[in-house]
């Protein structure tokens, strides 16, 4: 037992959880914690310029490192500014712990200065919220928060700390274990379900593996590829699953969904779909009722609530993806006749479809087209590198055209679709992986939402490369208006300002504007090696669509390969 303040207990507890970096911005109600940080040598604090960025950075850090990301803000507006980042992490099952200051206990409920009911606000967008009323509770709460955030289906956890609890001195004890009555994630698959699934997969004529973010979260990369090779099954990924198999693997068919490519065609022909760590988002499936109606579906997920939520599973398996994949592999190897595993006809068909669509996915040479730039980026970036995207056309072009070759090499806001996520997330990712290049692929619309944290990138010395596909419009909205609203461009023109080169330079970053693909190649190669953040402004055609796409309300069969002229 040690006598210390709640604030000190928080810092010590964080260190015991292995935290090395905290992203945050101080304010009145969290002053005691920042005072305790003042003497701290082991914890690095990254001062952001907007709390939303602190949450996105923690998220980017978590996704790139596989560890829990930590962000911190004061009460009221500081806390509410975190919410977009917390909601983003929640939708994509990213483990972060958000720590907020709160007005003193005695003031709670009195509409005090900078008071917000952040527990009430955050409850629907977190796995759990804590609000300790005694400093003694802090070590246990921090331990539970990290345990809840990082186990089962990961997600954000909030710790809301009233200021008096931070200041309160108490005899502090640090617990070794976590005991939670109502939380016990089920990891092992049920053997009977594995048997049934193995049988179905071996008997399948045309098996298809749909891999989602759960594969990344459980680190089941090897197990996934081993099973796919054994079954000779093509692997398609969801947006969150992109990169769980190196995309140059011969069995990888790319992304499924609204902006999927050939994988959409192939999944429609499958007779058995093995879906792992996916939640069957509407952006992946298209219309729920017409998603592969003839196929039998095996659904592996650690969150039992995902089973039968959107798509009915024929064989549900509630388990950790890695353990389930390993169990399936072992079951097939040991107990099932291997004679049925020779599916040359199916693989031939898969390769035919891949080939037939290739011309649509190849970009035309010469002018600066978004797919062309993205393909150049791929060539210049090493296998080991991280591409972070913003949200909109840039994200979907990357989904279609950027081959991810490293697990976790693609970080994107999938579920919530948060514009402004990419840049701060890339800073968080770079903190986690200073050894490899981190690139934020942005649009001019998205980048402006969080560009103020260029300051953080310079002051804290976190060099990343930002490539702005600058079309002067909110591109995805404009595309929908072009395709589905008779070119009635309502409120999408951004006026081609600011001058991104000057903007970058104003912060002390480097800015380059390129006019052709050769300039881009040169600027990008230089930026990857630069020890300061570089912003590359790439003007592109505002009329360029992300294609193919599934029109809203359509099914995976309704792919549009060419733009509709309306």
């Amino acid at each position: 037992m040690v006598r210390m303040t709640g604030a000190k207990a928080l810092i010590e507890s964080l260190k015991k959880e292995g935290v090395r970096v905290v992203f945050g911005l101080p304010g009145g109600a969290i002053l005691p914690v920042y005072d305790a940080l003042y003497d701290e040598t082991e914890l690095r604090h990254i001062l952001v310029r907007h709390e939303q960025c602190a949450a996105h950075m923690a998220d980017g850090y978590a996704r790139a490192s596989g560890r829990v990301g930590v962000c911190m803000a004061t009460s009221g507006p500081g806390a509410t500014n975190l919410t977009t980042g917390v909601a983003t992490a929640y939708m994509d099952s990213s483990p972060i712990v958000a720590i907020t200051g709160q007005v003193p206990t005695i003031m709670i409920g009195r509409d005090a200065f900078q008071e917000a009911d952040i527990v009430g606000i955050m409850t629907p967008i977190t796995k759990h919220c804590f609000q300790p009323r005694d400093a003694k509770e802090i070590p246990r709460i921090v331990k539970e928060a990290f345990y809840i955030a990082s186990t089962g289906r990961p997600g954000p956890v909030l710790i809301d700390l009233p200021r008096d609890v931070q200041q309160m001195e108490a005899d502090i004890e640090f617990p070794e274990d976590v005991k939670l009555l109502g939380y016990n994630p089920k990891l092992e698959p049920h053997p009977l379900q594995i048997k049934k699934a193995a049988k179905l997969l071996v008997e399948a004529e045309k098996p298809f593996i749909l891999a989602g973010g759960g594969v990344r979260l459980s680190g089941a990369y090897m197990e996934l590829v081993a099973l796919a090779e054994l079954l000779q099954a093509p692997i398609g990924t969801t947006l969150m699953g992109k990169g769980v198999v190196p995309e140059d693997h011969p069995l990888c068919v790319g992304g499924v969904g609204m902006h999927g490519g050939v994988a959409n065609k192939i999944i429609c022909e499958a007779d058995v779909i093995l879906a792992i760590g996916v939640r069957f988002s509407d952006r992946t499936t298209g219309r729920f009722d017409s998603f592969c109606p003839e196929a039998k579906i095996i659904h592996i997920d650690i969150d039992s609530a995902e089973i039968n939520k959107n798509i009915r599973a024929h064989i549900p398996i509630v388990a950790d993806a890695r353990r389930a994949l390993k169990a399936l592999y072992d079951e097939i190897i040991n107990f099932v006749a291997k004679s049925n595993l020779n599916k040359t006809g199916w693989i031939k068909r898969v390769n035919e479809v891949k080939e037939s669509a290739r011309i649509y996915l190849e970009c035309e040479g010469g002018r600066l087209s978004a797919p062309g730039i993205i393909r150049e980026m791929r060539k210049l970036m090493p296998r080991e590198s991280i591409l972070v995207t913003e949200v909109g056309q840039n994200q979907m072009w990357a989904y279609l055209h950027f081959q991810v070759l490293m697990p976790g090499g693609y970080i994107t806001s999938g579920g919530l679709g948060t514009m402004g996520f990419g840049f701060p997330a890339s800073l968080g990712a770079k903190i986690a992986r200073p050894d490899i290049p981190v690139v934020d692929l942005a649009g001019d619309g998205s980048f402006l939402m969080t560009e103020q944290d260029l300051a953080t990138s310079i002051v804290e010395d976190i060099p990343v490369t930002v490539v702005i596909l600058n079309n002067g419009v909110l591109g995805m909205v404009a595309q929908w208006q072009r395709l589905f609203y008779h070119r009635r461009y309502s409120q999408v023109h951004l006026g081609r300002i600011p001058d991104f080169v000057k903007l970058a330079e104003a912060y002390g970053a480097e800015g380059v504007k390129v006019e052709n693909i050769d300039d881009f190649r040169e600027a990008f190669a230089k930026a990857l090696k630069n020890d300061v953040t570089t912003v590359i402004d790439v003007p592109i055609d505002p009329e360029e669509d992300v294609l193919p796409m599934i029109p809203p309300g359509g099914s995976l069969r309704d792919m549009m390969w060419r733009g509709r002229v309306s």
Binding site: V119, G120, T123, P124, K127, H128, C129, I148, L180, L181, G182, Y183, D303, S304, A305, I307, N308, K309
Partner: protein, 167 residues
Amino acid sequence: MNETNEHIIAAIVEHKPGVLFKITNLIRRRGFNISSISVGSTENPSLARITMTVTGDEATIEQVIKQLQKIIEVVKISRLNPSESVIRELLLIKVHVADSRARSDILIYTQIFRGRIIDVAPDSMIIEVTGGSNKINAFIELMKQYGVKEIARTGITALARGEKSLK
């Protein structure tokens, strides 16, 4: 399979501030319908029992249970099969009493329903009735002819019969 029905869900939850908010907020956010909810303490002071009546088809009920299960403070949750459970609700009803004829009629009905008169005023009475929802509804219907001034219902609470228990 798609039949919409009332289902009874019982949960044992940690007795902590904000738990009821979490449960009702989740039900609201996922668009589920609850027609009643009752909360009370259990034999263990750190746990509380919540009983809910939820309207929906099989798939909806499955989702309600799975989503509620994810709340950290929800220790146990299950669906109660009405035919294998004891289901009770408490009704307090204040009825207008116009004259002595009405008073004696109400007294007889109360006896038939095994209720109790718990308050008498010159022109009204409060009656307590417990039972399943059908019985409670029937009693309210009967009282309407005299003029119902106020009703308070607890919502149902229930236990599985015999050996089964939520613990």
